[in-house]
Each structure stands twice: as structure tokens, then as C-alpha cells.
Symmetry: C3
């Protein structure tokens, strides 16, 4: 959509300076922006490129002078920019109407305005909420339930019974509700432990490309409202993840671990089974959290096995100086015991 600077500023709760009637129809980075694209400045180093940009409208903090621009003043320019983009841009269409090639079971229930792409397969008793867009080759297994306005890009698999809240975004290749990984060894072979539980994804969750989320074994795997999972993340059976927690790419969370709210987990982190990460914990990239471990609320941990960041830094600093420590130790031994 197109807006004026004033309309957008009103929506964002900003003040404007300059031509409040300037039109805004998109967002861009300064170097690639056109006249109607909105840009933002959140660091002094970006002021020059913003000044030279073709964009007429800039979100900038107080005190940043941008001559000739319409400035929307915000103390959190990046946040204001993200909110502006959310307001200005319609997400790309995934499907329009129900494509003739979609295989929709007669017992499936499609609310008004549901769009389904070519070759999607919707099995028996699936319920799809109003305004959902389902991409090509999506597979919605028997009894899956989707709230309103979900967006499934092409090639998403929901195993039977998976449940999604409202406004869930799932990227291509993600698999929700596959069997968990559990076996019991006996009589010379691995017996499959039953993987017949549930999987529930809350409102406003976004799940990256080729991520995998297993159903519960007997219980439930739960991803709460507002959680964001990056590409290739793995969530095992019976895991729960609290509201607004963010998990970067290629991280794996093992069975029955409970992740709190507003937790931030870096990329390639491994969380073993039965861990507890309390609200607001922060886990550095590639960290490893051993079985059953609790990370306290607000704690920042790093390394494998994960420990508080300050400890990790102190230990690693000495690790890097190990050859020096060994040399100093040798000198002391020579002093005390004589040369060997």
C-alpha cells in the first residue's frame, strides 16, 4: 500500500520533520532505495549513506540531521522500520483460490478465503482457518488443524493431527509432527517406542526452511505463541518452547527439554534431553547443554558444556595461554628441582 509520511508516523507514534505529505510505498536499504522507499538510520555510520539515498523518507533518532529528507523521529529506528514494513507491505501471495489440482478430502473444512496451491494434498478431517494460504505440494495429514491466516510456503508437511494457531508462517520443506526418535533395545534389535503424541504450534510462530518438529511420543510437543525457529532447526518429541523465544539455524533440542519464554538460542546449539532453560536465558552459538541441565533465568551461557559467559571467557583466555603456562611451570621446576 501507499501512505504519506504523516499517516505512517501516526501509525508508528512518531513525529515528522520536513514534508509530511511525502509518499511512502516500500522499504529498502539506502543504496537501493527509490524516492518512495522508506529507509532508516540507527548508527552514526549510516547517516552519510542515508543522506545520499534517493529515498525521501527516513526513520532516524533525535539529533540526526538529514537535510532535505522527511524524517520520522524514533528512538528505536530499526523497530519502527520493521513495524512500518509490516504495515506497508503485503506478504507475497502463496496461492490464489483453490487450485484445480489440489486434492482436498471431502471431509476437510475450508473456512472462507482459504487459498490452496497446485498439487497440495489435504486429507480427511483437516480444518483450515479463514485466510490461510497453502503452497504447492503441501501435505496436510488427516485431522490437521490450522488457525486463521496461516501461510505455508510450498512443500510443507504436516503429519496427521498437527495443530497450528493463527498467523503461523512455515517455510518450504519444513516437517511438523514426524515421529520422535525413541527406541528400546532388546532381543538383539531396537524396538520403536510409540510415537503417537501430539504437536501444537502457537499463534504468530515462524518456522524456517527444512526445519523438523517431531510429535510427542505419548505426550505433546509444544511451540508457544510468537516463537521463531530458523532454517534446519530440529525440535524433538515432548519439547516445549515458551513464548517469543528465538532459535537460530541448525540448533537441535532433544527430547523432553523445556525452553522458557524470551529465550535466545544461537545457531548450531545442541540441547540434550530433559534440560530446562528458564525465561530469558541466552545461549551462545554452538554451545552444548548436557542432559538434565538447568540454565537459570536471564543467564548467558557459552561453550560445551555450557557455562556462564564470564567463566567461559576467563577459562578460554587461559586456554589460549596454555603453552605459556606450561613454559612458566617448566621454568619453576628447573629452579626448584634443577635441570633434568
Amino acid at each position: 500500500m501507499t501512505s504519506t509520511a504523516r499517516e505512517l508516523a501516526d501509525y508508528l507514534g512518531c513525529t515528522t520533520e520536513g514534508d509530511a505529505a511525502a509518499r511512502i510505498s516500500g522499504v529498502a536499504e539506502p543504496e537501493r532505495a527509490g524516492a518512495e522507499d522508506l529507509i532508516y538510520v540507527d548508527a552514526p555510520m549510516h547517516v552519510a549513506s542515508a543522506g545520499k539515498s534517493a529515498a525521501r523518507c527516513v526513520i532516524a533518532p533525535l539529533g540526526v540531521a538529514l537535510e532535505g529528507k522527511t524524517v520520522l523521529r524514533s528512538e528505536k529506528p530499526k523497530l519502527a522500520f520493521a513495524r512500518a514494513a509490516d504495515w506497508l507491505l503485503r506478504p507475497p501471495a502463496i496461492a490464489n483460490g483453490v487450485h484445480a489440482t489440489a486434492v482436498v478430502a471431502p471431509s476437510a473444512q475450508l473456512a472462507p478465503g482459504v487459498a490452496i496451491g497446485p498439487y497440495a494434498v489435504i486429507e480427511d478431517d483437516v480444518e483450515i482457518g479463514a485466510g490461510c494460504e497453502i503452497g504447492a505440494f503441501c501435505f496436510l495429514g488427516r485431522g490437521a488443524k490450522l488457525g486463521e491466516r496461516c501461510r505455508l510456503y510450498s512443500r510443507v508437511t504436516l503429519y496427521a493431527g498437527a495443530r497450528l494457531g493463527r498467523s503461523v508462517i512455515i517455510h518450504s520443506g519444513a516437517v511438523i509432527g514426524s515421529d520422535g526418535f525413541g527406541y528400546v533395545f532388546g532381543d538383539g534389535k531396537q524396538w520403536k517406542f510409540p510415537q503417537v503424541g501430539e504437536v501444537e504450534i502457537g499463534d504468530d510462530v515462524e518456522i524456517g526452511a527444512n526445519a523438523t518438529i517431531d510429535r510427542g511420543s505419548l505426550g505433546r510437543t509444544e511451540i508457544a505463541r510468537g516463537v521463531k525457529l530458523d532454517n534446519l532447526v530440529h525440535v524433538a518429541h515432548n519439547v516445549s518452547i515458551g513464548e517469543h523465544t528465538v532459535v537460530a539455524a541448525q540448533t537441535g533440542i532433544s527430547g523432553s527439554s523445556a525452553i522458557g519464554k524470551n529465550v535466545m538460542i544461537g545457531g548450531q546449539v545442541g540441547i540434550a534431553d530433559h534440560c530446562r532453560l528458564q525465561d530469558g536465558a541466552v545461549v551462545g552459538a554452538q554451545a552444548g547443554i548436557p542432559t538434565g541441565k538447568t540454565i537459570r533465568g536471564g543467564q548467558i551461557v557459552w561453550g560445551t558444556p555450557a557455562r556462564p559467559l564470564e567463566k567461559f571467557k576467563a577459562q578460554y583466555a587461559w586456554f589460549a595461554r596454555l603453552p605459556e603456562l606450561a613454559e612458566r611451570l617448566k621454568r619453576l621446576e628447573e629452579y626448584a628441582f634443577g635441570r633434568k
Copy 2:
């Protein structure tokens, strides 16, 4: 199916106490069980919840009293429970009959009872054993061969010539038989080393969602009978994995490595090329095994580079105390050499 406690106990080789005629039709965890669901107890902490469960039948070890319940006595309650589930539950149907939209090459051979979901593509000379279920959007490349009773969930790719044994389960998004990763640098570019070998998956193997298994370059990639691979596992060209080995999520095994039987490999482990893991080795999560390394049979290894668990623990204990060691060293130096 539905059974009585006595019939199930006979199948499992258990004795029963209480009402042996009690009916059992499913499995559950104590908190969610209905009257006809089977539950199990394998730790004292679970006795109370089992006692309060609506389930009438419980598998429990000798010495655990559960008043009012029908108890099936087993020294390995979890194993018995897994075997009971295997006996009681029919796996969910993946397909029924051959869907009208499946594209099946005329030269493909389908044994009796094969079911193929919507939009599956079966190329020339594919052979599918009796009772296989092939999900929607599966792609079975030219000449692929599947033994009896395989279950491929939606969106599984078998490259041309891939061979599966009997009762293989493959989850959504897995790719079997893709080209290995091999190049030779020359004349300023990477030349692709030929990736024209084979891939063979044994009986009773289960492969997780979005896992990838490459074909051999010139030779063969082999996954033996009973192996279980979790989601997002990567198996490179010319790897062999022995019977009943278990590999947790996001682990990667590089080219030409040979993994023995009954090996247990944690999540996010990296195994470099040309390694040998002998039978019964155990590799802790996130461990890294360097090129060409042998892990002896039965050994438990941890860390990167992987070393025996006891050594790893001793080294890491001192690693955590490095700041203290450095302080003690400084005190000694001051004592010996005086303050600098």
C-alpha cells in the same frame, strides 16, 4: 487391535496379576490414559501417577504394588511397553490403493497390496515390494527397488537405483541417493568427481525427516539392517553403518567412514572421512572425530577431538579450574623469583 491383559502378557512372556480379562486397546502416558490404554512404570517416581491413572493395565517390575490395577510383570517395563505398542497399534495409513494421480511408469513393478498416495512419481523399472505404502509427492527414481512393507511418508526422494530392504520407514523430506560431495581442483575450477555409485538400505531401518544419504562415488553407501537415523542426519558417499546402530539428530558422517554394529552416536556429532568406529562404540553429542581416526569397540568418547570419556572429564575439570591454576602458578613465581 484390542487384546486382553492375558493375551498381551502371553505375547510378551509376562505374568499377570489382577483381572487378566481386562481389555487393552492402546498405549498412553499415565496422565492421559483412558481405561483401555496400557501404561508402564519403570522408576519409583512414576508409581504414584500410575496409581492415579485411569488406565486399568500397567506394566511394572516385580515389587511395585499397584492396587486395583491389572499388572503385567516385567523386568524391562519400557521394552515390554514398546513391544506391546508394536503389537497393539497399527501404524497410521500412509496411502490406500494407488491414487489416480500417481504417475507410475509402465515398466515399474508393483507387488500386491502396494499403496501409493496422490502425486507420487514412480519412474521406469522401479520395483516395489508387497505391502509398501508410498506417500504423496514421493519420487522413486529409475530402477529404485523397495523390499516388502516399506513405509515412505510424504515427500521422500529416492534417486535412481536406490535400494531399500524390507520394512524400511522413511520420514518426510528425506533424500536417499543424492550425489556425494567430491571435487578435484584443477585449471582454476572444481571438477566434479563422478558420483555414480550405489546406495543400499537394509531391513528395518528408520530414517528421520529431512535426513540425507548420498550414493557412493564409485562404490557403495550401505546402511545395514536395523539402523536408526534421526532427523537431519547426513551420511556421505561410501559410508557404511553396521546393524542396529543408532545416530541422533543433525549428526554428519563424512565420506568412506565405516561405523560398526550397535554403535550409539549422539546428536550433532561430526565424523570426518575415513574413520572407523568399531562395534559398540559410543560417541557423545557434539563430539568430533578427526580424519582417519579409529574408535575401538565399546569405547565411550566425548569432545572434539574425541577422546575417552574419562580423559575428557579429567581434562575438562582442569579446564574449568584454569583461572585458579594460573593464580597458583603466579603465587609460586612470586615466591621463587620475587614480585615483578
Copy 3:
């Protein structure tokens, strides 16, 4: 195709010894080769198996005697073998013609000789270059552009606007152009930062199964000519990768990192955001490169946080001897201060 030893030697720039008219129609490893398969020897340990092979023609370095064989002499036998395979073997057909079930938008432009498999979906304004083969279930989003002779195996997703150069190979399940992972926290929730940039893949790039490459947020993700990415690799928004760089399986590259030319990156490496790897850098498997770090050209780094290989080795050697160092320190303390 079939060639004589002489024709192949002329193409490779080799000399021949023995029967130059011997026919060659394939490549193999010595143990599995037929008479017309080409084999190669690049280490003394392989001479015996080459001698016993049924293959009549061998690529071998000067000085290696192979009686009764036709020998093509090369100082780089493996490179010559790869080039020979490239010349002899036609890659397997992915599709023939445009399958009747492919859904091709009227506005899509298909150059001559394009082949499209069953159930592929080609959206509006897609342009596909001459000789491309598009596998079953591929999804080419609105406006995607492919150069000549690209090969997309089954189930590849190109999000809208993705651009591929010539002779790009993409394996099954890969996703190109998905949204990057960027959010701004405010008002108690994560706001999606706009992910509306571009993704561009150069000529001769190969991308492994189930790999994921995100589009730029506002800018562009760029994979240059000749880059090779293994299975399950993750490339985040705004990353650039220079020519002929090779990235092994399960490695992740975070937002805005710039990787130079001819870089070699091992498996399961984690590269944080805003890193710079200069031309010719080498990163060992499972290494972790912290945010904003620069790795200089030609440097070999290892470990987490990554450091030069020699330093890493020295530090790790002492790490393994930490229990011994601690014991020696204790002895010194006893000597200096007396037993406690």
C-alpha cells in the same frame, strides 16, 4: 559415450602406453570395473588392485608399471579421472520434454530444449534457459530466472525472484530464497524485519540435498561462480560467497558474512554474522568463527573460537596434558610451601 584410449588421452593432454585403441565407456573403482571402465591410481597402495582389475585402461603417474594395461600418464591422476568422467558420462536425465502434469504459467518463458518433470510448478514470469532440466515437484516461484543447462533434481524450491546462472545443479529438497531470520523485539513481541531482498546463484554452482539459502533482507545473498555447497548447508541473508569456494555438509553461515574465493570450509562449521573470510582461507570441521571476525587470506583455522591451526594444536596438546600440569603444579607447591 564411448571413446578410445587415444581419443581420451588427447582430450586430457596425456600420453598413452599400451593399446591406444582400447575402448573406454565408463569409470569405476578397480574392484568393480569392467573391461571398458576407466580406473585410476594415485597412490602406491592402489597399484596392486589396479593390476588385478578387469579394467583395460588406467590413469597413472609416471613410474607406475602396470603390465598388460593401457596406461594414460598424468601427474594428477585423480584430476584427469574426474575430467575423463565429465567427458565420458552424460549426467542422468532428470526430465524428458515438458510433462503433461507440469503446471506452467502462460507468462513463463521456456527456452528450447527445456525439460520439466511431472507435477513441477512454474509460476508467472519465470524464465528458464535452454537445456535446463527441472525435476518432479520443483517449485519455481514468480519471476525466478534460470540460465542455460541448469539441473534441478526433484523437489527443489526457488522462492519468487531467485536467479540462477548457467549449469547450476541443485539437489533434491534444497530451498533457495526463503526469508532470512531477522526480528526486532518491541512491545512484547518479535517483529519480522522485512526479508524482501534478492538471491543470486552463479554459473556452475552445485547445491546439496536439503540445503537452504535465504534471500537478502533488503540487500542480496550471492553465491558466486563455481561454488560447491554440500547437503544441509545453511546460508543466511545477505551472505556472499566467492568463486570456487567449497563448503562441506551441515555448515551454517550467518547473516551478512562475506566469504572470499577458493575458501575451503569443513563440515558443521558455524560462521557467525558479519565475518570476513578472505580468499583461500581454510576452516577446519566444526570450527566456530565469532561475530565480526576476519580470517586472513590463506590462513588455516581450527576450533571454537577459531584460531590458527598451529596455535590450536599447541593449545590442545597442553589441554590434553592438563591433569599432568596440575599434578606438577601441586608438587611444586608442596616443595615450596610444604604439604597442606
